[in-house]
Symmetry: C2
Subunit: 345 residues, 2 copies
């Protein structure tokens, strides 16, 4: 991967950074107001631009005990979109790549799929056909590859896919494409007592396979699109069978709905990259009785990642939320300008 180190900037080896965060965490918990001034700034993959400064200032403000802006640790809820915010969503969301690969893998054992136009469109890589008519084809593919099996069977399939599939452009496993600056941001917020949740249009059962390992976000902090399961006590033990009933799409106005359903209080920090994140940015930042931070990541870097804000290949369109950013006070991160690195080496 390309790297654009600022001259003179100290780059910490990953192990040292982990140790640093552990120490910082103890310090922060014991005496939060001292931490920001005593220790160097650990967001090493971020350029020293306004975006980074705004993040650091916000965290310092809400963790400084005794100030009117202080937010108790229990209320330090941060929500992160996943696709396009924590890792790429180009040329298509990784879960869609999984679903297409699953169709291919299972095709020999599902002969009736040969006559299914949606399956054929998917196998031909015809994304527009899948996304037409309110994503009707996409949901059919998700139904075929993500329901009718137990939650454990589904997780096993996802795990097997991550172990072998590679991203077509970057030629590395999909779960090694998390953005380094965002991994640092997750760790930084955790060190200051924040609890980070994923709030993503992706399926919760898909994300939970990797969220803890890749992001340090445990399954109970993963909110995604979901549908009801059915409980069965089988000879082999209890199982939950995946269905498409009561399907909930965790996108746009669904995001604040899901945040309330799963978290039950308003976040104070929200990180997104597309119009699908507009409502959760609003819910986090407008008339929040607590200080709050909203951040939009722009994909502006064709060299190291993609430049595709307004015209993405599949999902992730960013137009409306970007237009609202100035009046809402949302921080706009320009990947090309504000990130020293995109992916970990």
């Amino acid at each position: 991967m390309h790297s654009r180190s600022t001259p003179g900037r100290t780059r910490w080896p990953r192990r040292a950074a982990a140790l640093f965060f552990t120490l910082l965490a103890s310090t922060a918990l014991a005496d939060p107001e001292d931490a920001p001034s005593k220790v160097p700034v650990p967001l090493a993959a971020w350029q020293d631009t306004d975006a980074k400064k705004a993040i650091i200032d916000f965290v310092a403000k809400v963790t400084r005990d005794g100030s009117g802006d202080f937010v108790p640790p229990a209320e330090r809820i941060a929500v992160f979109d996943n696709d396009g915010t924590l890792w790429p969503e180009n040329p298509m969301p990784f879960q869609l790549a999984f679903a297409l690969d699953e169709l291919k893998r299972r095709l020999p054992e599902e002969p009736e799929w040969k006559d299914d136009p949606t399956v054929q469109a998917a196998l031909a890589g015809n994304l527009p056909a899948l996304l037409a008519d309110h994503y009707k084809g996409l949901f059919r593919i998700i139904e075929l590859t993500g329901s009718g099996m137990t939650t454990v069977e589904f997780a096993d399939r996802v795990r097997a896919w991550f172990a072998t599939a590679k991203h077509p452009r970057f030629d590395r496993p999909y779960d090694q494409l998390a953005y380094q600056p965002m991994l640092e941001l997750l760790a930084y917020l955790r060190a200051y007592g924040f609890k980070a949740f994923l709030v993503s249009g992706g399926g919760a059962d898909f994300m939970r396979v990797f969220s803890e390992r890749v992001y340090g976000v445990p399954p109970e902090q993963v909110i995604g699109s979901n549908a009801r399961t059915v409980y069965e006590l089988r000879e082999t033990g209890p199982v939950l069978v995946k269905t498409m009933d009561a399907l909930f799409i965790d996108d746009k106005a669904g995001k604040p709905v899901a945040i309330h359903q799963f978290i039950g209080r308003r976040p104070i920090a929200c990180f997104g990259n597309s119009d699908g994140d507009k409502e959760m940015l609003e819910y986090t930042t407008i008339d929040n009785p607590r200080p709050s931070l909203g951040l939009l990541l722009r994909h502006t870097d064709a060299d190291r990642e993609y430049a595709c804000d307004a015209k993405p290949k599949s999902s992730g369109k960013l137009v409306e939320a970007l237009a609202d950013a100035p009046q809402r006070g949302w921080i706009v991160v320009d990947m090309e300008r504000d990130w020293a690195e995109v992916f970990a080496d």
Copy 2:
């Protein structure tokens, strides 16, 4: 409240107990395998019977590093039913008492309720009528008192009710009726790195008003019956309006379904009191790859609380789960025999 102290048993003042738990927590995290043997047992409101011993043995086993039964802290998920397990559900679940009081309070401003037979049955205290026909009347009452307003307005109403309403028999505010032994158990598990979730038939929006203050369980660890909200960006800021759409009843087979939806992994400890908890006890304890603990609380104490297992006045029937307990290895707690105290003084 009545108290049955065991002669010679040390009763710790509450402040000392809190300090003790704080110290224990640091010890447990630093060196979990030493904690159980070095410190006295803190479940003071429990009699020294088999039930208490089984809990302590289980916690010691799964937190002893290096043993084959060790469970990493991230997987120490404990789920608790609320009504009847953490506080009484007699003469009716407290949320139903709230709903009936709400009907009375709002009656003057809702003239059409005078002709509504369900409202009249509720105001007359005719519980059987509300529970007939698959709880049809009850849902109507919940709809009238728990939808059509914002989540913030609902929480304010619940808060106001807890501040004034009193339990008809115990003559104290409902939120001062948490069982002392269960509060100690919650604190004990927390000290050993467990994360406790409420998994209750009660409404999540109702429970979240008191769960953190009463049980130390933050809103994001409260799973309850729920329905979709609708997001609106109003002049005054973003709101979520409560509806009855996609109503989910978090009871019986719904409990493991909700546990998967909200937590995404199997609990290793489960605490309930009725047939409504049978499936989540199964999901926790049958063929779990981790060691697990299931516990059923029997209401056997007419003197200090209620004796009503098989024939409760409203909800909380316990017959099937109790019959299954021996073959499943679930611990059966007999309130009269196993609890030295029921309520805090």
